[in-house]
Every structure is written in structure tokens, then in C-alpha cells.
Assembly symmetry: C2
Homo-oligomer: 245 residues x 2
């Protein structure tokens, strides 16, 4: 992305199930669109296994490189949930019970249900702030510029909007799509010329095809609402020209 450099972020997906191909990640797309609305661009996303050294190394690299980091996965009660402890290590903080999180879980579960595994979900890096889950029990947390979310997409979708007030808002990124029933290579030359004339607009070109239908979706993205509309007009005229050939 070539705009809104002021607000950058990275997404770190933690979980063997995504890397093995068992599960298709849905969180990157949801988090990215949410951040786009806030004018925060996602500069990169990474998917890594539940492996302590990789979590620590990636957290420490990304939190220095970007303004915000969002992680998903590995904060549940089972043995393979090692995200919280690894992030404590990355920040060189103690990994201990967060009193408020403990008390939320204590109220949610009956005495006999509140076993060691469930208690583990209240352990966080010292100094972490809670991210509440209004539909579930266990809260997530953030520490400095790192936001640590669960892996289940429906929980992420509930928790993220509650965070909105924390973020400095950049200029909202406007996105407009133009559909062309033309092969990408037919319009490539003209599209490139339009891109050269509109430095403020980021033009992407995405071919699609299934059976006998083929076409190209042209996506314009910009924070400049005047330029993007004028660019859209030129793209539409160009598409019309080629469609009538």
C-alpha cells in the first residue's frame, strides 16, 4: 500500500492448524478490512506454528517494525496454547495471573469447572490490559502495541470493534472496484498508463475465470476521494473502449 504510512501494522497468525492446511485462515481478511476502515495499513502478515522461539522472534521483530501488531491463536486452555507465555518472554515480563481476568473466569465457571486448565487462561504478561469478550468467558489482552486475540474468528469479530477507541485514526482508505469482462493482458498497457497518471491511487488488477467466463476486477484504493473518482472514470472509459473493440 502506498498511502497512510503514518499508521502501519502487521498480523501474526499463530497455529499449526493453519500451516498444515487443515484450516483456512479467516482472521487476516477480517482484521485487514477492519484496520482499513481505521486508516491503518497492513504491511505484512505471517503464519507461524505454536513454537516458542518463533513466537518470540516474530513478536520482537514486528513490534519494532510496525506501529501495531495483531496476533491470533494460542491463548486457550490446552498444552499447545503457548502464545501468552511466549509473549511474556518476548517482552521480558513475568507470566502470571491477571487478577481481573481471573475474577471474570471465576464468576463464569462453577467451582468444580474452574480447573487448572481454565485458570491458565487468566495468565498473561505482567502489565497486560484486557480485551473483553462479551459473548464468552475468557478475555484476551494487549501489551504495549501488541494485541493478542483468540484464534476463533467469531471471537475476533466480537472483540475487535471494542478496541476501536484505542486507535489513532488515519485517513480512511477508500476502495472502489471496476469489473471488466476482459482478459487482464488486454487492458494491462492502458491500466499501467492510468496508474502513472494517478500516483495517489493504488491500482490493483485481479483476473478471475471459471469455465468459460473470464474477466478482471480492477481495484482502486486511495485516501483522496476526488482523485479516486476521477481515476475511476478513466478506468471505466478505458474498459468501455476495449469492450467495444
Amino acid at each position: 500500500m502506498n498511502f497512510s504510512k503514518e499508521f502501519t501494522s502487521a498480523i501474526l497468525i499463530i497455529g499449526n492448524e493453519i500451516l498444515s492446511g487443515r484450516t483456512v485462515d479467516k482472521n487476516i481478511s477480517f482484521i485487514s478490512r477492519w484496520l482499513g476502515e481505521l486508516g491503518i495499513s497492513v504491511e505484512e502478515a505471517r503464519i507461524i506454528p505454536d513454537k516458542e522461539v518463533m513466537i518470540i522472534d516474530n513478536i520482537n521483530e514486528l513490534r519494532k517494525k510496525y506501529q501495531y501488531v495483531f496476533t491470533t491463536g494460542g491463548i486457550g486452555p490446552t498444552h499447545d496454547d503457548i502464545t501468552s507465555e511466549s509473549i511474556a518472554k518476548a517482552f521480558d515480563k513475568k507470566y502470571e495471573y491477571n487478577k481481573e481476568a481471573y475474577s471474570i473466569l471465576e464468576k463464569y465457571y462453577t467451582n468444580s469447572e474452574f480447573n487448572e486448565s481454565r485458570k491458565k487462561m487468566a495468565r498473561m504478561p505482567d502489565g497486560a490490559s484486557l480485551i473483553y469478550n462479551k459473548n464468552g468467558s475468557a478475555p484476551a489482552f494487549y501489551i504495549e502495541n501488541v494485541f493478542v486475540l483468540p484464534g476463533i474468528p467469531s471471537y475476533v469479530e466480537i472483540m475487535l470493534p471494542a478496541l476501536e477507541s484505542l486507535f489513532k485514526k488515519g485517513d480512511r482508505i477508500i476502495s472502489i472496484s471496476v469489473d471488466a469482462r476482459l482478459r487482464e493482458s488486454t487492458i494491462a498497457h492502458d491500466l499501467s498508463e492510468i496508474q502513472n497518471n494517478y500516483k495517489e491511487v493504488d491500482i490493483g488488477s485481479y483476473p478471475y475465470s471459471n469455465e468459460k467466463i473470464f474477466g478482471t476486477t480492477i481495484v482502486l484504493r486511495s485516501i483522496d476521494s476526488i482523485k479516486i473518482l476521477s481515476c475511476k472514470k478513466e478506468v471505466e472509459e478505458m474498459v468501455r473502449k476495449h469492450s467495444n473493440l
Copy 2:
């Protein structure tokens, strides 16, 4: 993953459309499952924008770190397709017409269709070998241990199997799932004990829920067909025990 260390790989997805959240990536899941069948573990995946410096840096980091690297996206005819040229720079190779690729495209298109944008798809790093696309026109390529594939999932699915003979086969990774209609935190303690007894098996625990149904999928992965079956038996007994409580 804790097995088959001999054969490691990384996946690099190149494309603004994935990072903006417009498109949900499907290639990571497909490529990972295909590699798992070959006994090659995916150690990490990254998604980066169509930005030269990021492509070069990531290619040069990943190709040294892992035995194989697979990229998708950015090899089409438009101005935002900069993967091939960036990879030539990463390898410090000339970016030029591959004769065989040029001749394939020349046959595929009529004279008037074969414009500069389409010719661009025949430009590759010097020394690249072709990956053929039996259903389409433009071939992809590989250079040393880096396999450069298109972004369209249906093309990736056609092209990958044709590569199989190139890979040294590791031990096939066996994967078995056990479904438990129990909360993850109910079985966490016992599951952790089973994991401790089976170092050769990688046990993952994935909660799911929708409306009023909730449960946990327990996924066992191993290259040891005896141990994984015995581990599966213990997991099933444990699940039965908790289901009857």
C-alpha cells in the same frame, strides 16, 4: 511441526489484495496439504504486498532458511505484477525473455493479441526452469529452491502436481482427527498428559462453536503409523470418559 525436519519449506504469498482483506487466501491451505503428502513440513507462511524491496528481502531470507520456498502471485501481465523481476534481483540474475516461455505464448496468442503486456509473462530470471500450465497459456517457473506460482488458486492446483517428481520425498505425515463434543478446557489436562507420553505425535486441539453446539477437534499428526494409532486409542478413551461424566 515436530517431525520430518529433513524437509522444510516456507510459503510466500505476494499480493496487495490479500493484505487489504479483499481476497481470502486459498493457496496456503492447498500448498500445505500437498506438501504434507510429500512429507515436507511448512515452517511458516508470509503474506506481503507487491513491493519490490519486500519481495527481495523475504525471498533472500526464506531461501536460505528453508529447503524449499513457494511463492504465489504477481506473475501476470499488469503493472502490479512485479514478482518475476524482483526475484531476478534477489538472485542477482538478469530478467529476460525465456525462449521456451516466449514460444509457448507466441503459439497461444494470435499475432495481434501478442502485445507487450502478454510478452512480459515470458520474462523470467536467467536460468529459470518452466512449470507448465496445461490448462492455460503462461508457464510459471522455478529457480534453485524457489518455486514461483501464479496467484489464481485453480492454476496453482493444476501446476503443483506436475512438480511432484522434483521433490525428495520425506516420510508422509499421517493426520487423524478425533471429534469431542466437549469444551477444550474440560479435556485440556488429560490431553496434555497424553501429549507427554507421545513425543512422536503432534497433538493439536481446536475448539469450535456455533449457536449452541460446541466441541473440540483433536488432531494427531505423526510419521509413525504405530504410535499414532495407539495415541488415537488413548485420546478416544479419554474423550469417552469425559463424555460420560
